[in-house]
């Protein structure tokens, strides 16, 4: 078919312009090439160079895979990947549990339902920088309300952002506040798609609420939960603005996730080649996760 169309339409750009299928694909193709493929290929190219904007007048030298070899031995980069991974697992885990719990709790009629649902979704509409700034103030040991409450309860004040053992947790709390609504929203829509008859049948069989949730509802929405969690996980792995605002990667390097390290390497130390290599490794990890995500989506669609 395409061969026939190709022959009929002619070859080269003229052919493309006369071919409706190719014409419709052209804008997206151009977009992908200009905004995705070229920057990606350029980043790959940069990752093969030693390019420091400050040294040697900003001259670039091709060094092959040297940057990648250096990354293999770069403990700071490994630490940053580990921090990103821990943040991703912990934040996504908490957000998933809370999101599902809230969706189950609010998926029924009650007074003020619209208000509660609206309020729950609100943080999601804020920018991560604003969320970071809000929580930075909330956690402030002298004037922050969190510490005021802790002191009131006789538990503080505690400098969460100033301690290496708690700073990442403080960022997890801020991230959870912002992104639990995302999981909540997806799960709620899945819950609303469950036919009432299934639940009614279970109730007629005298199944308890707990049994209904565990044996009927959760299996029916597990695909959505998985997809929502995977989407959040991929985002969480790239966390940047909240850390930048709340701790700048500190104390020490306790919250220096990969995004922060790449930013520092590129825009503080101006090691563009090295930062590009880090970016490519991050990308490979995320593409792997995305492949897993697509696999899950495919399996879930087959189940339905």
């Amino acid at each position: 078919m395409s061969t026939t169309m190709g022959k009929r339409a002619g070859s080269g750009w003229a052919g493309v312009l006369r071919n409706p299928t190719l014409m419709f694909l052209l804008p997206m193709g151009l977009y992908l090439i200009l905004w995705r493929a070229i920057p990606l290929l350029y980043t790959v190219f940069l990752s093969l160079n030693d390019w420091n904007l400050v040294r040697r007048g900003g001259a670039r030298t091709f060094i092959g895979l040297d940057n990648y070899v250096s990354l293999v031995w770069d403990a700071r980069f490994h630490d940053s990947l580990w921090i990103s991974f821990v943040f991703m697992v912990v934040a996504t885990g908490i957000q998933t549990v809370l999101g599902v719990g809230l969706a189950l709790a609010t998926d029924r009629s009650f007074r003020g339902k619209s208000f509660v649902q609206g309020a729950l979704l609100l943080p999601m509409f804020l920018t991560p920088v604003a969320v970071g700034a809000i929580w930075y103030i909330l956690f402030q040991p002298s004037i922050g309300p969190v510490n005021y409450l802790l002191s009131f309860l006789g538990l503080g004040p505690y400098n969460m952002l100033g301690s290496a053992s708690t700073a990442l947790w403080a960022i997890v709390i801020a991230d959870t506040w912002q992104w639990t609504p995302f999981i909540y929203l997806l799960v709620l829509s899945a819950l609303q798609g469950i036919p009432e008859t299934i639940i009614e049948a279970a109730q007629i069989d005298c199944a308890s609420d707990f049994v209904i949730v565990r044996k009927i509802i959760l299996p029916l929405i597990k695909g959505t939960i998985l997809v929502a969690a995977l989407l959040r996980a991929m985002e969480a792995f790239r966390v940047f603005p909240k850390i930048y605002v709340m701790t700048g990667g500190g104390p020490g390097r306790a919250t220096e996730a990969s995004g922060i390290l790449i930013y520092k390497t590129a825009f503080r130390f101006f090691e563009i080649g090295y930062a590009s290599a880090m970016t490519i490794i991050m990308l490979v990890l995320l593409v792997t996760a995305y492949g897993f995500y697509l696999n899950v989506v495919r399996r879930v669609s087959l189940e339905y």
């Binding site: 290496a164 500190g250 020490g252 825009f267």
Partner: protein, 471 residues
């Protein structure tokens, strides 16, 4: 002389005056309408006054001065990225002292001294008045023998303390009983630490005869990594006899030298006497804590404290705050009262398409006349400290700025203060990042100074090897 002859002379004088005036006008308006894009850091105390200097000069020269404000980090990043991309967007920009070598070496700025040497016909030496700056202002902003740009203010870091606490009879008595010497301005860092420890109290305890309703702290520093923390720490580093990151003779990093580790340990020993949250304090936040009356002493840039602490409109302790030089470390010769001068300067962006207009605008903006006018009209008595000594010694200024005479005697004109500037090295920022991050970790209890600085040393050695300074 006949009336006709007198009339002729009068006409000649008038014509001549007219010609001179039009020449002057033509000169002044040579830059009429030339757009000048200026990049300034939002939040620096000196940035607003400097923007007003430029606008004032722009009005006279006719240049169209447009100021863009960025945060300190954004300004740094944007300038470098724009320069690398070849963007000619900017004409004038503020340069932070520790970036001066980096920016000068990579050609982002045209050193003012170089421009002046290459364009003698453009320069008005009377307005430039290089002899009307403090030596430190010229020395700090000279790199490889060339003057880089116009200093935006004068004075470095100073010690601010609470006179009501230091002079309180009970406190004096208790201090002497505990430490065995009189409570006074600290002359050494050991005394500084003693005083910080002494004044750290919990809510419910008594301070200067009053029961505290909230915790009170001995000292406050801006410990947010990396720039803020390092700007504070570098005073200790130099006072304790360490190099600033590396030994300039051998070019070898010296972050793990015994002196550097001693300075780091001293900084960590102050942690119990600082307010909670100090690890994330910016310079403004640290000063604000002192200004609101929660701290006995702070070490901060005089310029910032003059605005935030001595100003009754912004400070609860304006009438009970005093300032002095920083303490010293006994036995470290030649580094008495070591204080980071800091400060920043206004430079010429090398890709500017309007370099001459940019230079003339800076030259006029920083002339004594414009500087004095803007200072008197807008920033007397608290908002700024102009860099020209002739203005600071001006009797009218001294009359209108209550603390000026004392500041001149104790800080600006004093000869025994070891004012220093951060080392001029393109790799400085990265080395500073390694060391400040280690120190921050040590201050939060995550490591020891010894271990942290040894790791930072290794990281900096790799960096210096890559840069070709060492093998």
């Amino acid at each position: 002389m006949s009336a006709l002859r007198r009339l002729g002379m009068l006409v000649a004088v008038l014509v001549l005056s007219g010609a001179v005036a039009s020449l002057a006008w033509a000169g002044a308006k040579k830059y009429e309408g030339v757009p000048l894009r200026v990049m300034l850091p939002d939040g620096w105390t000196e940035a607003k006054p400097v923007s007003n200097l430029l606008l004032e000069a722009g009005k006279i020269l006719g240049t169209d001065v447009k100021i863009s404000w960025y945060s300190m980090d954004e300004l740094h990043d944007k300038a470098l990225i724009d320069f690398t991309a070849g963007n000619k967007t900017w004409d004038i920009l503020a340069v932070q002292s520790y970036n001066r070598a980096e920016w000068a070496d990579m050609g982002l700025i045209v050193p003012m001294g170089k421009y002046i040497a290459e364009h003698p016909d453009v320069v008005d030496k009377a307005k430039l008045a290089m002899n009307d700056y403090y030596d430190i202002s010229i020395r700090n902003y000279t790199h490889k023998g060339v003057w880089l740009g116009a200093p935006m203010y004068v004075t470095g870091v100073a010690l601010f303390y609470r006179t009501d606490l230091f002079n309180h009879p009970d406190e004096k008595k208790n201090f002497k009983a505990k430490y065995g010497y009189d409570l006074k301005e600290p002359a050494t860092y050991k005394e500084f630490r003693d005083i910080a420890e002494f004044f750290t109290r919990k809510a419910g305890q008594t301070l200067a005869g009053k029961v505290l309703t909230s915790d009170f702290y001995g000292t406050s520093h801006s410990d947010k990594p990396v720039g803020f923390l390092w700007s504070d720490f570098v005073n200790y580093l130099i006072a304790f006899g360490a190099d600033d990151v590396y030994d300039p003779k051998t070019m070898r990093p010296t972050l793990n030298s015994p002196q550097a580790i001693a300075a780091g340990n001293f900084m960590v020993s102050l942690v119990p006497f600082m307010p909670p949250g100090h690890l994330n304090f910016t310079s403004g936040e640290s000063t604000a804590v002192f200004a609101e009356g929660s701290v006995a002493m702070t070490i901060e840039y005089f310029l910032r404290c003059a605005d935030m602490v001595l100003n009754p409109a912004k400070s609860k302790v304006a009438d009970k705050a005093a300032f002095t030089v920083l303490p010293s470390v006994p036995g470290v010769k030649g580094r008495e009262h070591a204080a980071h001068h800091g400060g920043n300067f206004l430079g010429l962006y090398s890709l500017s398409g309007n370099m001459e207009a940019a230079y003339k605008t800076i030259e006029l903006a920083f002339s004594k006349e414009i500087m004095r006018k803007v200072y008197i009209e807008k920033y007397v008595p608290y908002g700024w400290i102009p860099p020209r000594p002739s203005i600071l010694h001006d009797p009218e200024i001294q009359k209108r700025v209550p603390w000026m005479k004392e500041a001149l005697t104790k800080l600006m004109d004093r000869k025994d203060i070891y004012y220093f500037e951060q080392a001029p090295l393109p790799e400085y920022f990265r080395a500073m990042d390694a060391a400040a991050t280690a120190l921050h970790k040590a201050m939060s209890g995550g490591t020891t100074v010894d271990k942290g600085f040894n790791e930072a040393q290794k990281e900096t050695e790799v960096l210096f090897k890559k840069a070709g300074y060492i093998k």
